[in-house]
């Protein structure tokens, strides 16, 4: 897995499921040789039938005895629900100027591919995967379920997502938060640009003793290196506010401000015991996954 796929190459492939499978296959053959495929085999408990459960999982013998529908839960299935939370605010439309002409992707595209790959990996392991897309203009929610069919629905939902507005206030999405906040793993992908701390507040509400939250902060080469020169008019993607600056003169102050921002974010997430991953959208996507999964493998 030393050879990572160039993001501009990946961006040209518009087929989300294909990209997800391509990226994930490498991991499935490498790091996850011990992964048990399919549903879990060790019986754990019965639970009442819920709409969406596969009919094959209904215990018919128990139905014959009790005249009620119960499904068998395997040990693994009862362990993890994987929820993918995607920041779909307008700031996620940012992309690097250096790669813009090559048809590379913006942060939202990167997040889509990343979450699709994670969803595929989870689905291959038999985990239930759900999706929550957040913006002030639209909220997309898919409950966590396992199975190929559900995975395909999730891919479709991811592909259809559009950015708009700003990140919503946590108070407006309490019902979704309640559903997401269950035993499992929550992947939150965002640039963490917020107006009044709404992203951090959401993460704080998601985190619990049963829930493992992984925050992925997306950034681009432009944000990391600030390669601009001369007179530049910066425009905010969400508020449309403009600032005309001499980029050469503003670089130092910007780098300092960005460093401060990152440090505050790390501190806030650490306080909530949330793992932070920083991903550069102009670097290979599979590299991020490799680093993350390697780290998880070591911890596990």
């Amino acid at each position: 897995m030393e050879h990572f796929i160039d993001p501009t190459t990946l961006a040209r492939v518009k087929d989300l499921p294909l990209v997800a499978k391509t990226l994930a296959q490498g991991f499935l053959h490498g790091l996850h040789s011990s992964t048990q495929k399919g549903t879990g085999v060790e019986f754990s408990q019965y639970r009442s039938y819920e709409p969406g459960d596969a009919m094959s999982r209904i215990d018919w013998k128990l139905f014959a005895r009790s005249d009620k529908y119960f499904v068998r839960e395997a040990q693994r299935e009862s362990d993890i629900n994987v929820y993918l939370v995607l920041d779909a605010s307008n700031s996620m439309n940012q992309m690097s100027q250096s790669t813009a002409t090559k048809g590379a992707w913006n942060k939202l595209d990167y997040a889509r591919y990343l979450l699709a790959t994670v969803a595929y990996l989870a689905q291959q392991q038999g985990d239930a995967v759900g999706l929550l897309g957040l913006s002030s203009s639209q909220i997309d929610f898919l409950p966590a379920m396992a199975g190929q069919h559900h995975w395909q629905k999730l891919m479709l939902q991811l592909a259809r997502m559009h950015s708009g507005g700003v990140f919503p206030d946590a108070s407006t999405i309490q019902s979704q938060i309640a559903k997401v906040r269950s035993q499992g793993l929550i992947f939150v992908v965002s640039d963490f640009y917020q107006q009044q701390g709404e992203v951090l507040e959401l993460l704080g509400q998601l985190r619990s003793h049963k829930t493992d939250v992984v925050a992925v902060q997306l950034e681009s080469d432009d944000e990391v290196y600030f390669p601009f020169k001369g007179q530049v008019r910066f425009e905010d993607l969400e508020s449309a506010e403009q600032r005309l600056v001499n980029a050469n003169a503003a670089k130092q102050a910007y780098m300092h401000a960005r460093q401060e921002f990152n440090q505050k974010l790390e501190l806030a997430l650490k306080r909530n015991k949330i793992n932070l991953l920083r991903a550069n959208i102009d670097q290979p996507l599979d590299q991020l996954l490799f680093d993350f999964l390697s780290a998880r493998a070591k911890v596990g």
């Binding site: 007179q231 008019r233 600056v245 001499n246 503003a250």
Partner: protein, 375 residues
């Protein structure tokens, strides 16, 4: 438009080219001063100067923009070699006036007086005589007398003008006063370096049919000519009176005719054959008795003058006269008569402005002030 530009710039093509380059450069400088738009996720990370409004362009950048535009303008003027850049050179009030006999012949007294007033203290150039003519002579010009005494001539005024203006400085204005008689424009158009201000007299009456040109006829008669001689004499008298006042008839005997006999026509009414270099004119007896014999005789006598006679009444249009001839390649490459070189003060200004612009530009780049954070 080309003629107008030529009046002010030695190199109108360079001017138009420079202007064509100036437009996109100006657009580039203006848009550069506004800055390229970059969309970012968080404007809060971009520093802002506390004491300036964020949308305002710095005064330094405005000054640089003005300097650069001024520099471009001066370079454009230098390339186009504007004639008005030479304040010590002759002004437009310096002019060369040229006039033709035909204009003087047919101009009214008032028109001649206006020309004299334009001349002021200088003289005009009389094209037909290839000499100067002063205001007094113009004012006192007696057309009838002039026409009568002047032999019929054909000339190419374009060539004369081109020759006369060869050495005239480019900043002189050249005015030509002429009628539109075809006889003054015989031959091809000749390119002139200067733009010509034509004053064409179009309302004039052609000269009367009386031909003032002298025609010399020798009539040789002897005793056998007694019957037809009176007819000839009568015809000659009629022609001299009505049509050909310049007709001169000499009567000789056959013995008086020799190889040194001079005249344009010889009419032999004697019975002897003559050996003379003069062209012989003869008519039959029947023709002599025709009522139109004098007119037929007149046609024969003036047949060598026909082109001149017909040309005197033919006219050209104004456009035919004033439309400039095609510029020959040699004239384009003629460096002798180009406008004076680029003035020194213009070159110094361009260099100075360039240095100032560079110094300010580098100063802004190397030592940006807090105010410069906002551009």
């Amino acid at each position: 438009m080309a003629a107008m530009l030529s009046s002010y710039f030695a190199s109108p093509v360079a001017l138009l080219t420079a202007l064509a380059l100036l437009i996109p450069l100006t657009i580039h400088l203006l848009s550069r001063s506004r800055g390229k738009v970059i969309k970012v996720g968080n404007i809060g990370l971009i520093p802002v100067a506390r004491h300036k409004p964020v949308a305002q362009v710095q005064l330094t950048q405005k000054r640089l923009l003005v300097l650069r535009l001024l520099l471009l303008l001066l370079i454009t003027l230098a390339l186009a070699q504007g004639l008005f850049l030479h304040p010590l050179a002759a002004t437009q009030s310096q002019k060369k006036l040229m006039v033709t006999n035909s204009w003087l012949d047919h101009a009214s007294a008032q028109q001649r007086q206006e020309l004299v007033e334009q001349l002021a203290t200088q003289s005009a150039w009389l094209i037909d005589e290839n000499s100067e003519i002063d205001g007094q002579r113009i004012a006192n010009w007696a057309a009838d007398a002039q026409i009568e005494n002047r032999p019929g001539t054909m000339q190419n005024i374009w060539a004369s003008i081109a020759q006369q203006t060869e050495s005239v400085p480019r900043n002189y204005s050249v005015s030509v006063y002429s009628s539109n008689a075809l006889s003054d424009f015989i031959g091809g158009k000749v390119h002139t370096k200067q733009a010509i201000d034509w004053h064409i007299l179009t309302h004039w009456k052609p000269a009367q049919r009386q031909v003032s040109d002298s025609i010399s006829v020798v009539v040789v008669a002897d005793e056998t000519s007694t019957r037809q001689l009176p007819l000839w004499q009568m015809a000659f008298t009629l022609l001299q009176t009505e049509l050909l006042p310049g007709l001169h008839v000499e009567y000789l005997t056959p013995q008086q005719v020799g190889i040194d006999t001079q005249g344009e026509w010889l009419i032999n009414l004697s019975a002897q054959a003559l050996n003379s270099p003069v062209a012989i004119l003869s008519f039959s007896q029947q023709q002599l008795r025709q009522a139109d014999f004098p007119m037929v005789l007149a046609e024969q006598l003036v047949s060598h003058l026909q082109p001149s006679l017909s040309l005197r009444s033919q006219r050209l249009s104004k456009a035919q006269i004033t439309e400039p001839a095609a510029t020959p390649v040699a004239a384009r490459r003629d460096l002798k008569h180009q406008a004076p070189s680029i003035p020194v003060w213009l070159i110094v200004s361009v260099v100075l402005l360039f240095c100032i612009e560079r110094v300010i530009s580098e100063a802004v780049r190397s030592h940006p002030s807090r105010a410069d954070l906002n551009g």
